[in-house]
Symmetry: C2
Subunit: 311 residues, 2 copies
């Protein structure tokens, strides 16, 4: 993984997934558009495949049909023999692995109801190529900020749909309600995809990227809503935390607000950087927000790929 | 309906519906809270009943199970004999009519993904009592604006869940994504309910309300998204229209934006006031926004109710 990048072969097979969650519509619309007219996402020497990853969920306008497609790509579930009653998404995951398991890069397009703006999700702190790519995307989007969420964690990392590729890229843009298409969010996602593809093209063409560092927000834990004995929500995100993704939350600062007007403070012993604050899909996962810490990753100089190897 | 209001009996039976749409969570949370502790919504001489109107949809976190509960309260569907395969919501509507058909006021709590702020929905331009109530709520909320959407229209009016009451009140607050609870939206809805109940109490106590006028936005039509031959969305709400509910949209002004970057202008022949701009639940109803015109309604002086009649 951390070998000298210039020794790698060019990245020739790239997929763009939309509709991994069927009600996150920016990616659905873009992928369907590119399936009809792919000129915008084609690059010399690259095979770029736009793909609707959960078509049944897209058709129904829901996140998933039986279970979350973005949580079933672990070895245990992918290895299941196909029983008659296997969940739809498990069968779909097996099919996706068969189709895309040898791909170099998968760009997996997501929306969130959280105020996360343009965000990239990184799965490994050792992936120098993606660290370089994410720095490139950040530079290209500036002055629009673009944050990086690192899900590398011994117990909290989850097996995403894109995790079957050599370099899995999560593109997460919000805030956007489920089932809604906003032009501003659509444009931001589209720009992120463009810059990702440009980077891949530059890499294949032998452009050199100097050693760089990248500030990321690494998950350290999850915080659930206060709940009643029956499991129902007993308090909502406090107004002073709502929409404040990526900003420090310090011990004792307001976190939740009960219906009786009581403020519940953050009970951590050090500041954290919340992300996915009040994401609709995470109510059922017991997650009001994820706690992160800021970490600076570094990537070695990206050597030119052999010029002749880019077709 | 338009008889002298002072001649009316006091309003003694009031219901508060939450969860008419199961993924509009502010009303669900408030009603469940008031079911446990109703002190906040009790008023002298009033019986106030908080009620979850579509519990199965609430449990599943969806708008509805079989069909939209807020569209089945027409005589034809309510009169159906209960067949084995009747839609869940039709059976539920029959039950709701049986329980609440003789109620004076139903406050029906809704959220929208549109940027409508605090909004009240009025079903009849002749309902002097509600015109007075809505003026009272507006005054009490000021300087926070509170708009009134009038759905009285020969063909576009729909039979709401609350329509079985003498005075049906729709309370619609946004923007809030489906499946999300925002503290700010919750507080706005809560204030609107408080002021509505205060008004009813004042009315019952004999307080006099002078003749008044009320500016409302009356529905005149619906505008669908541009669609492809297969029915899929071909353009999104233009950024200059997004979040601009209640503001004039003039002929020729940008309305939609295609993925090819083309702007589709508004093709009306007079300005309209769009509402429910980009409401998630209306994609399936073929409605990108509703067109309204501004109308000023008037209500006669609200005479004191007989003081002795308020228990």
């Amino acid at each position: 993984m951390a070998s000298l990048l210039g020794a790698q072969a060019p990245l020739t097979r790239v997929a763009i997934f939309g509709g991994t969650h069927g009600n996150e519509l920016s990616g659905v619309l873009l992928v369907k558009h590119w399936e009809e007219d792919g000129a915008e996402v084609q690059r010399p020497g690259l095979r770029v495949t736009p793909f609707i990853s959960n078509p049944r969920a897209v058709q129904r306008g829901v996140r998933y049909v039986d279970c979350d497609l973005n949580r079933v790509f672990d070895a245990a579930r992918l290895g299941q023999e196909p029983p008659e009653d296997r969940p739809y998404e498990v069968g779909r995951a097996q099919e996706i692995r068969r189709l895309f398991g040898a791909y170099d890069v998968i760009l997996d397009l997501h929306n969130t109801t959280s105020n996360m703006g343009c965000a990239l999700i990184l799965e490994s702190s050792q992936d120098d190529l993606l660290i370089q790519m994410f720095r490139y995307i950040q530079s290209s989007l500036a002055p629009t900020p673009c944050f990086v969420y690192l899900i590398d964690h011994p117990s909290l990392k989850y097996a995403t749909t894109r995790s079957i590729a050599k370099h899995p890229v999560g593109i997460e843009v919000g805030p956007q309600p489920q089932g809604v298409l906003r032009a501003d969010i659509l444009q931001q996602m589209r720009s992120m995809v463009k810059h990702a593809l440009d980077f891949i093209q530059f890499f294949n063409e032998g452009k050199e990227f100097p050693a760089c560092s990248l500030e990321v927000y690494q998950v350290t834990g999850k915080v659930d809503y206060p709940r009643k004995a029956n499991g129902e929500i007993a308090a909502v995100i406090h107004p002073s935390l709502q929409d404040q993704d990526w900003k420090p939350l310090r011990p004792g600062e307001p976190t939740f607000l009960t219906l009786d007007g009581a403020t519940i403070p953050f009970d951590g012993d050090a500041p954290v950087y919340p992300v996915f604050v009040n994401e609709a899909a995470y109510y059922e996962k017991g997650e009001a927000f994820a706690k992160t810490r800021r970490v600076t990753l570094t990537a070695r100089r990206l050597n030119a790929a052999p010029a002749g190897s880019a077709p």
